[in-house]
Amino acid sequence: MKKEGPKLKLGIYSFTSCGGCIIAFIEAMNHHFEWMEKNIEFVDFKELKTFKKISKTDLALIEGAISTKEEIKRVKEIRENTKRLVVIGSCGITGFPSTQRNDFNKNHLKMIEGKLKKFKHLKKVKLPSDFVKVDSSIKGCPVEEKKLLRELKKAIRKNA
């Protein structure tokens, strides 16, 4: 896929999750690295390069649910700085399994309330869409690779 002109500015961010959707992205690179390199500028990608602060992006991919005030702040900042925000993977869409504590009974809650308080977790685990406009989402646990690649190619074409 050849491209003239600016590359797609991409940011990849992780919230409350196992990190598996970002790993899935890194694995998707196995067979698609060359066209990715030609067409994408990885502006924010903490797993592969130094990350200092949230940059302006054409596309932001986010995995995970929202558990803390800090995460609320961060997802809002990502939204402010991107043209298109796409949530990848189950945790950010249905919430499961990261939202599993939302269904805890009284006994289970008692076990964790100390930690929740100490580390300033929200009472209930929320979704990115509870706080920001989400343009699209790609389901899966981990995120479905084919659909992820289709989203990237679509964004690259639109950016051309």
């Binding site: 196992c18 598996g20 694995e27 797993e47 592969l48 390069k49 504590r101 930690k115 981990p142």
Partner: protein, 428 residues
């Protein structure tokens, strides 16, 4: 530098989120704290009361890169509790899946997290034309390991076919030949990787204890726990040697082995078990193996590279065996009972312990797991403290100290999703 603020807010090129907090005053490192920024997802509590059949798939989601390790520790734990002995075929399949998980994980760590440090650049995207082929080597290794795990486990990340008692579906024999060919093609790439890390000099020795599961063929699923001090412990007795250390500022539990910090991972395995490497690997890498045993944590990278080659040789042998024995078989029947079981495996980053109790109906009554990255946390903090002190005494500037500290953290290959902890360096 007597009083310096060196804060690494977002550690890059590691799995998960962490920061390092360091207090230096009057030229001395007073505190060095690793802080985990991952939010706790409370798996231990979430699975209480769940049926044992559902647990392997659930614990896989503790970690996106080494979820397989959790699944395999869990099935071992269940089978141990209910007195189930799996077939040789199942053991071969599980060994292969675990091997491929290690291979993929080591490749991600070595090529994508660590090689930029070796070449003095920020990321693989900054590699010059002359180094570009290394990116493709890393991608090829990951691609082959994923292919094999798709064939054997249904999927590379969070595999779907591993169940207590065996497998819910078996691979097709025709794919095994393809798997062998693909593994063979990786040998020159991994050989090159070993040479790079054998030549890369980065050194900080600190006399330490280390612990690993050891056995006769360097597999990651079975064996006895051995330590640098010469102890040999059966899997089921590990609990007697651990202490959990609660640190009020940390989301992680950390551990001491018989009251001292220690490390786990490829370096510990290589130190304790190199005699069990494949004979071809021992023959070819005699010079490199002379570095071990060592307590220079930077050699964890070379240990992972040698393990990667060993995995290739061992897995080719296992695939050949599997070709010969593969037959249709149902998973072993399981009858639940009130029992406690232990499962101990070597995840890519070190020894992973699972201990679960079940009710008569097979529901989880209690759950405990001990994560390799948690076991390394105390050792990492203590070693970093001494390391930073030595860099201060060498007169390194803030930027250089930052770089060296990140290299050391990366050498441990911490997994923050598993450990739920993060480093934050603030010098004041």
């Amino acid at each position: 530098m007597h009083n310096v603020d060196l804060s690494i807010k977002n550690l890059s090129k590691i799995e998960g989120n962490a920061s390092l907090d360091v207090k230096v005053s009057d030229g001395k490192v007073k505190t060095c704290k690793l802080n985990l920024l991952e939010s706790n997802r409370f798996f231990k509590e979430a699975i209480l009361g769940a049926d044992y059949n559902s647990i392997p798939g659930r614990v896989s989601r503790i970690c996106g890169t080494c979820g397989v390790s959790h699944q395999l520790a869990m099935v071992e734990c269940i089978e141990n509790a209910f007195g189930v002995k799996v077939t040789r075929q199942t053991r071969v399949l599980r060994n292969l899946i675990m091997n491929m998980t290690h291979l993929r994980d080591h490749a991600m760590h070595l090529y994508f997290f660590c090689l930029p440090d070796v070449f003095g650049v920020d990321s693989v995207f900054d590699f010059g034309e002359d180094k570009h082929h290394l990116i493709h080597d890393g991608l090829d290794i990951k691609s082959v390991s994923n292919y094999i795990n798709e064939v054997l486990g249904g999927r590379a990340i969070h595999p779907t076919l591993i169940i207590p008692g065996g497998f819910s579906k078996l691979p097709k024999k025709k794919n095994l030949d393809s798997a062998i060919k693909k593994l063979e093609s990786l040998k020159t790439k991994v050989d090159n990787l070993i040479k790079i890390f054998a030549e890369y000099e980065n050194n900080f020795e600190r006399k330490s204890n280390y612990v690993a599961l050891c056995n006769k063929d360097y597999n990651f699923l079975e064996g006895e726990i051995k330590t640098a001090k010469g102890s040999i412990i059966k899997e089921k007795d590990y609990g007697r040697h651990f202490e959990k250390v609660v640190r009020p500022y940390s989301k992680a539990e950390v551990f001491k082995w018989e009251s001292k910090d220690y490390f786990v991972g490829a370096l510990a395995r290589m130190n304790l078990n190199k005699e069990s490497l494949h004979k071809e690997v021992k023959k070819k890498y005699g010079e490199e193996l002379k570095y071990f045993p060592s307590t220079n944590i930077f050699l964890n990278n070379l240990a992972q590279a040698i393990e990667s080659m060993n995995i290739i040789y061992v897995s080719i042998d296992l695939l050949r065996e599997l070709k010969g024995i593969l037959k249709k078989e149902k998973p072993k029947k399981i009858i639940s009972k009130r029992a406690t079981g232990v499962g101990v495996v070597e995840a890519p980053r070190g020894t992973l312990y699972y201990k679960f109790s079940f009710s008569e109906k097979g529901k989880v009554v209690s759950a405990d797991f001990c994560i390799p990255s948690d076991q390394n946390l105390l050792h990492m903090e203590n070693t970093l403290k001494l390391f930073i002190q030595s860099l201060l005494e060498k007169g390194f500037n803030k930027k250089k100290i930052h770089e060296e500290v990140e290299k050391m953290i990366r050498a441990y290959d911490p997994c923050m999703s598993c450990a739920t902890h993060f480093l934050k360096i603030n010098w004041d």
